[in-house]
């Protein structure tokens, strides 16, 4: 049976990498690690620590993960790969610990032969990470007050 390149790559098992850890994240390095010959598109999302929230200046920020965080983000990455059959690779790395303004907290990369699958799968990946990975964020504001985001 004749198969086009696109049809053939659909049935290749996608490569998946995921982690939760304290190491500094380098989006370019993550992108480079997942690039391959069949990928014509890569969509990369970087979640970056911003200097304000609710109209107040953020001076300090900390992420904390449950011990299961690495397993959960790995399961999510594999599920996104399975649910988007055109994707060739999925990478998802979340940083924890004390981060500074401008630091990268999350890198999510998806590659595919054509761009649409990468855009859709990368958005799905980020939404599922935000909803499903047991990670928490504490913000300290420049007036000295602090909050755990999303929690009373």
């Amino acid at each position: 049976m004749h198969m086009t390149t696109d049809a053939a790559t659909r049935h290749v098992v996608a490569t998946v990498e995921a982690s939760v850890g304290a190491r500094e994240l380098d989006p370019a390095a993550v992108l480079e690690a997942v690039q391959g010959g069949a990928a014509g598109a890569a969509v990369l999302f970087a979640g970056i620590v911003r200097d304000h929230d609710h109209g107040r200046r953020v001076s300090d920020l900390e992420y904390e993960a449950h011990p299961s965080g690495g397993d959960v983000i790995g399961r999510i990455a594999r599920a996104v790969s399975a649910d988007h059959p055109d994707v060739l690779s999925v990478a998802a790395h979340h940083r924890v610990g004390s981060l500074a303004i401008g630091d990268v907290a999350l890198v999510a990369v998806v590659t595919s032969p054509h761009r649409r699958a990468s855009f859709e799968a990368c958005e799905d990946l980020v939404e599922r990470i935000k909803a499903g990975v047991p990670i928490w964020k504490r913000q300290v504001f420049d007036d000295g007050t602090e909050e755990w985001v999303n929690s009373p």
């Binding site: 992420y63 990670i135 928490w136």
Partner: protein, 80 residues
């Protein structure tokens, strides 16, 4: 039988301790006991938290804690 409750993030801040032991038979008893011990702030965090019972996500409602050794209190996630 006693079990260990582990607190994370805002739950730990509200409880004032990272973990503690207590003896309760059900999720409802657990929430009542912890709220009575630590006050309104933990009670309000508990009202929006999920629980892991020996690593498994607890189903909604008043589950039995028979045989459970460890309960993790997970406030709403805020990664990304």
């Amino acid at each position: 039988m006693s079990l260990v409750v582990r607190y994370f993030a805002s739950a730990r801040a509200a409880a004032g301790v990272p973990e503690e032991e207590l003896s309760v038979g059900s999720v409802t008893e657990l929430v009542e006991a912890l709220s009575a011990r630590h006050g309104d702030r933990l009670a309000s965090v508990l009202s929006v938290s999920s629980l892991l019972l020996d690593g498994q996500v607890a189903r909604a409602g008043n589950g039995s804690l028979a045989g459970v050794r460890q309960v993790d209190v997970l406030p709403p996630f805020a990664g990304g």
